[in-house]
Amino acid sequence: MTPGKKNFLNYSYYPGCSLHASGREYDISTQALFKALNLGLKEVPDWFCCGATPAHNVDELLSLSLCAKNLSLADQVEGDLAVACAACFSRLKTTQHHLKEDDTKRQQVETAIAGPASLGKPVKHILEILARDFGLARLEESVKKPLLGLKVAAYYGCLLTRPPEVPELDDCEDPSIMEDILRALGAEPVKWSHRMECCGANFTLSRPGVVLKLSNAILKSAQEAGADCIMVACPLCHGNLDIRQESINKYGTPEGSLMGNIFGSDYIPGSEDGPRREMPIFYVTQLAALAMGVPTDKLGLESVIVDPRPLLNEKDLL
């Protein structure tokens, strides 16, 4: 690292649980991308789970306290806090927002974590770092292998932009930050309707049937819009769209219905046809790192379920 170098940005890093497990390729590609862009990234030591949606579903105070503690852990590392997972990002930002607005809550949280709530550190999603801190122009300049001809459906999901006053990432109904990044990388973002619909991540454990229905609509819409693949910025969205894609493709068919009866709970029979073509799901960092010329074995491409390599081969991007 060369701290004196101009425009060198350092970040503290909160990967979140998923990036160390089902979303490990997101972690791998994020690290690789930051290295390629000469951005410093230092993991917060011994961070722990932010509580995600379950915590605030069950107990808001607990959720705020877990995040507040993590935020104060993050203070030990220099630089704005980079967050990759949309759920972690949303929870950490929500905590900052709530505690700034509500003194009573702040006092309760401070009692719970037995220390002052640290609310000063900017929490930034990877998208924000790429598009704003690093900058779209510089991103475009840094591209070594533009993703020409790749039609990508940028999928935002719920938590990157909602509720409007918390994430401060982009317009809550008509965001463009992911499309802007895609254009900078040389790819072609498609216009599609379901980029902000919910994938049902909250039900992935308890009611997979719900996930199938919701994710099906998303995959179908992306496919109808002519996308080759979907880009996400959240390990939970990725989990649903990628890991469950096989089941989704059987959604609504007799086979799927049988599978649902055996393996899932509350399967909702539907008449919608599942998409028949497999759609690779990329993390934003995978695509960006690919465009920056990071060797393909460092993108974690082998870890995903729907193998993207045939598509990338077809587009001559590997």
């Binding site: 011994d46 379950p54 579903n57 899932g264």
Partner: protein, 194 residues
């Protein structure tokens, strides 16, 4: 329950419950004028017997029991679409959070509250391991909810790709996490927090 005659009186309208919901969620149910925009945009309306706007309506009428008796609150995906689009700034997502908490605290788990069961296990995981340990989470949920085969097919796939670990990571902050849980319980006991 859904179409049962509703007797309205000071006694049958449980305003105290609504006040509790409002305090927990920090939002007012009286602001809602029932435009139905929440239900129109909710990805989960189809799964609910009371669409979101009706949940608020029932609260306006002090009918918390009717809301809790149904499955609606357990099918909210917390996607915040309702909160984002509400013309009256009713934070419906927060109301749902509050209702789930009150329901669980009062009635414990039920078949409808699988989600909450998963959530509880998720939180238990934090307390035990610090970070999520997905293999155990999945297994425990299936055990407790009695769906032993659910998602069985996914396991090997995930393990083979390194997406699920057989062992968990140890976290140095575990004592601190335990302390946070304990302090919150303490505050509740003393009535210093809701």
């Amino acid at each position: 329950m859904k179409n049962k005659l509703m007797h309205l009186s000071n006694e049958t309208m449980n305003v105290g419950f609504v006040k509790k919901v409002e305090a927990l969620s920090g939002t007012s149910v009286r602001r809602c004028f029932q435009c139905g925009k929440c239900s129109a945009g909710c990805p989960m309306t189809a799964f609910m017997e009371h669409p979101p706007n009706r949940v608020v309506r029932l609260l306006q009428l002090g009918q918390g029991a009717r809301v809790l008796a149904g499955r609606s609150i357990w099918y909210c995906a917390s996607c915040e679409t309702c909160t984002t689009r509400c013309p009256n700034k009713v934070n419906l997502a927060a109301i749902m959070d509050a209702l789930r908490k009150l329901s669980w605290d009062a009635d414990g788990p039920s078949k409808e509250s699988y989600v909450q069961l998963a959530n509880r296990l998720f939180i238990e995981n934090i307390r035990t391991y610090g970070r999520q340990y997905e293999l155990r989470l999945g297994a425990a949920f299936n055990m407790k909810s009695g769906q032993f085969l659910k998602d069985l097919m996914l396991g090997p796939k995930l393990l083979s790709r390194g997406k699920m670990k057989l062992f968990h990571q140890k976290n140095k902050n575990l004592p601190e996490i335990e302390a946070i849980f304990n302090r919150i319980e303490e505050m509740r006991k003393k009535g210093e927090a809701l």
